[in-house]
Point group: C2
């Protein structure tokens, strides 16, 4: 069965790699969209079956645009999550003689990728000029187009499959602690195999002027021994100091514990919105495949 | 006594207006810096006495760059907070004949400001092209420089004091719920008058693998009836799922309650870092002065 996926483009991004890792069946089609809202709106409007967007990064934190769009604009359940290590690679245009680092005059990439390769650039390319562009994939595209220039890009591995560029150096990032969580959203359920690890995500609005309300909400989870892996506050946009809380619970939706906790929170005057219960996929660093855990 | 303040530039920004509102004594000097890290580093290195930077906005949420720099890079206490309503205004270059809206061919501003004036632009300037620039102040500067063009900028009121531009329309924002919290940081204490409202901000690191740890932390505040106005999680950058929590407590540091809560949290294995205890200033919408409350 053919399925279509919107991903945060352009082609050659980490999000494309994530989408293709989770959905390897033949016949799937992956369509780049220019922005996170564009991806989510395409899935909400039925132009594609599913959207794949970044959700949280271990260095940069939550992706607020994804959070805000899911909270305020669309009503699509989260169907799965993929945790993927983020690596950066140095690429140049394909050429007859490989480009030596000493020849390089310019490094192109997204500001975050440049910052995350600071030590490598300082050691190996101190003489090169840095040029910031809108994505690591755009950097690879520009380098491949201006193939006569001694330029390099810092890119995702996916860019090598998409643009006529060649790898010069692999894994040039300063830290191995760089992971991104991607989520898949869509109206139709997806037939995933059983996983060892599930999450349930909810959005909670506290009653106003309620001292200690968040404490009471957390009590509803704590005495049931439900573990929370993330609590993120986002503004309701109704005034300074009013927040939604996005809460990840480390288990699948069940018939007893979670409905009980949600009912208790509602009795306290909170609003609870269910955002999804879904399996978690993990790609290990240097692993070729993903695993369920 | 002359004091120097670094603010997030360029000249004519909301941050400059905030800095000048809090510190109206003669002889104070206000210096624009290009980025939030540049402001904070200038104060940390003693190049200026104080830094004034945005901290949280009611529509966009916390300013992650400010949070991360305070957490990871510098050790400067927060000395005060100013809550300021954010308004947007339409300005053109000064000209002999005032520019009519029907003549306008282009609107320049920061993407956030454009988004926040969507209804006004849709109604009054549907024919005009939109051009995004790096700040609302930069938009005013460009419009004043290209004075022969029928262009307008969406800017802060401060831009009118700084660039040769004139107001065409005031308060064109879609919502009145737009407020920004600015904070002042520096090594030397500032002699503020007594305020009715104080806050204390701390940074808490939870022990790893500690289910319900955040619930226990909040218990330490709840049973003392200490109200929290904000809990913000930021990544520790050591791996996905490890967070700091920035917590605002709605009272001044005291000798009994807060030290007791901090000691309890440390006994549970948390690390607690004190970021400051400080008075809160508020500028009312359409008010000319700020008040303590």
């Amino acid at each position: 069965m053919e399925r279509t996926f919107a991903f945060l483009g352009p082609r050659g991004t980490n999000t494309e790699e994530a989408a293709r890792l989770i959905f390897q069946e033949k016949g799937n089609r992956f369509l780049p969209y220019r922005t996170i809202p564009d991806c989510l709106e395409a899935a909400a409007a039925g132009k594609v079956d599913y959207a794949v967007v970044p959700w949280e990064n271990s260095l940069e934190g939550s992706v607020n645009l994804t959070l805000d769009w899911i909270i305020h604009k669309i009503d699509l359940p989260i169907l799965s999550e993929l945790i993927m290590p983020i690596s950066h690679h140095l690429v140049s245009a394909k050429r007859e003689e490989p480009l030596a680092l000493s020849q390089v005059t310019k490094v192109l990439s997204h500001p975050q990728a440049v910052a995350q390769c600071h030590s490598y650039l300082h050691e190996h390319l101190p003489h090169a000029e840095i040029e910031y562009v809108s994505s690591t994939a755009e950097a690879a595209r520009l380098v491949s187009e201006r193939f006569e220039e001694p330029w390099v890009a810092i890119s995702a591995m996916q860019a090598v499959h998409v643009y006529p560029v060649t790898l010069i150096a692999e894994n040039i990032e300063d830290t191995e602690n760089n992971f991104t969580r991607f989520i898949v959203l869509g109206k139709k359920p997806l037939p995933f195999p059983e996983s060892e690890k599930y999450k349930t995500t909810i959005l909670v609005t506290l009653p106003s002027d309620f001292p200690g309300a968040l404490h009471q909400v957390l009590s509803a989870f704590a005495w049931r021994r439900l573990n929370l892996s993330r609590i993120e506050s986002r503004p309701t946009k109704t005034g300074l100091g009013n927040y939604y809380f996005v809460i990840d619970i480390e288990q699948k939706m069940d018939d007893v514990l979670l409905p009980g906790a949600f009912a208790e929170m509602e009795a306290l005057g909170c609003q609870v919105r269910f955002l999804g219960t879904y399996p978690v996929f993990v790609k290990e660093r240097n692993g070729a495949r993903i695993s369920l855990r």
